[in-house]
Amino acid sequence: MNTLGMKTLFAKEVRRFMRVPGQTVLSPLISTTLYFIVFGYSISSRVKEVGGVPYLSFIVPGLIFLGIANNAFLNSSSSLFITKIQGTLVDLLVAPLGPGELLAGFIGGAMVRGLVVGVLTWAVAALFTGFNLQHAGVTAFFLLLSSYVFSLLGLLAAMWAEKFEQINFFPTFVMMPLTFLGGVFYSVRELPSPWSQISLFNPMVYMVEGLRYGMLGQSSFSPALGGGILLGLALVATGLALVALRAGYKLKS
C-alpha cells in the first residue's frame, strides 16, 4: 500500500481546486445563494410552509445536496479528464499507485470540494433561516456519502469520456433534471398525479429527503430509503471504478 503516494495525489487534487477558489468554491456558492434568494423569496410569499417547516428552511437541504453533488462530480471528472488530455496521466500510471490509491486520491479531493461547497452553502443559508440540525449522525452520513457517490460518478464519467462535452453529458442531462425534479424546491408528495408517482422513480428524491430528515427532523420518506440507495450506488460504483482502474479501461492503450 502506497500511503504516501495516495496522500500526495489527494493533496495535489485539493491544491488544484484551491488554486482557483473563485471558480471552484465561490461561484457554486453564489449560484446556490441566488437560487436560495430567488426561489426562496418568490415562492415563500405564496407557500409559507411545507409539512410544518417554513419554506425557506425546507429548501436548504436540497440546495446543499445540489452543491455537493455538482461540485464533487465536477471536480473528479474535470481533474481526471484534464489529466488524460494533458498527458500527465502517464505519471500516475507509471508510478506505483494501484487502483485503490488512485481512487482514494481522486475521490478524496473531489469529496473535499463537494463538502466545502455544501458546508458553505449551509452557512449562507443559516444566515437566512437559522441553523437547523436535528440528527447530526444522519446528516453527516448523507453529506459524506453523497459527496462520495458523486465523486465516483464523476471519475467514471471522465474515464469513459473522450471529448470534453461528454463529461458534461451526465451533469446536464441526468443530474440537473433529476435534482431539480427531485424535490429540492417542493415536496414530491404534493405534486399532482401522475407526477407524484413518476417522481418516486427518481433516486435523488430519497437522497434529498434523507438529508432533509437529518437537518429538519422530518421528511416524506424514511431516510433509510435514501441511505440504502446511496449505499447501493456507492458499492456498485466503487466496484466498477476499481475494476476499470485495474484494467486501465480507456486509460491504457
Partner: protein, 310 residues
C-alpha cells in the same frame, strides 16, 4: 549470473488492425545502457509502454527485477523511471513542486536536497520556482528527465530524451547518463540521433515492424556491420589497377584518379594496402579514410543485409 533487471518473454501487442510488438524476447542486464533503435512506428514506445504500465500487452511475460508484472503490477514500479516521448506537464505547479509530487507518488517524502541535486544536474536550478508552463520546450523536456530520475530508480527508460534539447545539454545529459550507469542504474533508451546511441550504448537492439531484429554489443555490431573505406587519390592516374590493389579487391574510379578499398571484418586492414601502394612509389596526393557510423549500420540491418551467425 544475477537476475536480469528486465526480461521480456514473447511480448506481443496487437491493436485492432496492427501488431505493434510481435514475440519480443529481451533480457537487460544490471547497469548497462541499452539503446533500442528503429524507424518511426517500429514499436519502441509501445515496448516501453507495455513495461511501464501504459500499454496492455496482448500476450507474453514481463519480469521486472525478477518479478512477473502479472503477479505484482505495482511493486516493481517503485524502482522504475520513465521519460515519455511526449512532453507532458501540469501547468499549475512549479518545477520544484512537480518534483516533490513525483517523489510522493513513489512513496518518498519531500526532499529539498534531492530536488536541488536533480535540478542542478539538468541545468534547471534557475527555474526552480517557475511555473512549468513558463518553461521553453527544451526545458520542459529536461524537467521530464528530472521527474523520471528524482526518486533514484534502478531502471530508467528514456524515450527520445534529447529530442529538442540543445547541444550543450545533450552533452551534459550524456555524461550524466554515463555516471548513472556507472553507479549501477540500468538505462534503456530510444533515439533517432544515432550519434547518441553510438556514444552511450553498451548494447543495441534493432526493432522494425514490432520485431526485434538484432540484439548485440555495440562494439560487435560495429565490427560486424561497420566498414572502413580507404580512398586514395593519385596525382597521375596509373595506367591500370596497381597489383596490390587487385589483390585487396580495391576498385579504381572511372577517371582512374581515385582508388577505393572497403575494409570489413575479415578483410586485411587498409593500412597494409596503403603501405604497399607507397612501397610501389605511386604518386599519391591524398589519403582519406571513412568509418561507417551506427547510422549506416542501422540502415544496412533494416535493409536486411544477410547476417552471419554470431
Amino acid at each position: 549470473m544475477s537476475v536480469p533487471v528486465l526480461e521480456l518473454q514473447g511480448l506481443t501487442k496487437s491493436y485492432a488492425k496492427l501488431t505493434a510488438l510481435s514475440d519480443v524476447n529481451l533480457s537487460i542486464r544490471q547497469g548497462e545502457i541499452f539503446a533500442l533503435l528503429g524507424p518511426n512506428g517500429a514499436g519502441k514506445t509501445t515496448l516501453i509502454g507495455a513495461i511501464c504500465g501504459l500499454v496492455k500487452k496482448t500476450s507474453g511475460r514481463i519480469l521486472l527485477f525478477g518479478k512477473d508484472l502479472d503477479e505484482d503490477p505495482v511493486g516493481p514500479r517503485y524502482e522504475v523511471g520513465l521519460v515519455p516521448q511526449e512532453i507532458n506537464f501540469d501547468p499549475f505547479f512549479t518545477v520544484a513542486e512537480s518534483l516533490h509530487i513525483q517523489l510522493g507518488y513513489y512513496g518518498r517524502p519531500r526532499d529539498e536536497a534531492r530536488v536541488d541535486e536533480v535540478l542542478t544536474a539538468l541545468n534547471l536550478q534557475g527555474k526552480k520556482d517557475s511555473l512549468t508552463r513558463a518553461l521553453s520546450g527544451g526545458m520542459k523536456r529536461r524537467l521530464l528527465i528530472a521527474k523520471a530520475l528524482v526518486h533514484r530508480p534502478r531502471l530508467v527508460f528514456l524515450d527520445e530524451p534529447t529530442a529538442g534539447v540543445d547541444v550543450e545539454l545533450r552533452r551534459d545529459l550524456w555524461s550524466y547518463v554515463r555516471k548513472l550507469a556507472s553507479e549501477g542504474t540500468t538505462i534503456v533508451l530510444t533515439t533517432h540521433y544515432l550519434e547518441e546511441a553510438e556514444e552511450l550504448a553498451d548494447r543495441v537492439g534493432v526493432i522494425n515492424e514490432g520485431r526485434l531484429l538484432l540484439v548485440e554489443d555495440k562494439a560487435s555490431v560495429m565490427r560486424r556491420f561497420g566498414e572502413r573505406r580507404l580512398i586514395v587519390t593519385f596525382e597521375q592516374p596509373p595506367p591500370a589497377l596497381p597489383e596490390p590493389a587487385q589483390r585487396f579487391n580495391a576498385t579504381l574510379s572511372e577517371d582512374r584518379r581515385t582508388l577505393t578499398y572497403v575494409e570489413r571484418e575479415g578483410t586485411p586492414p587498409s593500412g597494409e594496402l596503403l603501405r604497399e601502394l607507397y612501397a610501389q612509389g605511386l604518386p599519391i596526393s591524398d589519403v582519406e579514410t571513412r568509418r561507417s557510423r551506427l547510422e549506416d549500420v542501422l540502415i544496412e540491418i533494416l535493409r536486411g543485409r544477410p547476417q552471419k551467425a554470431a
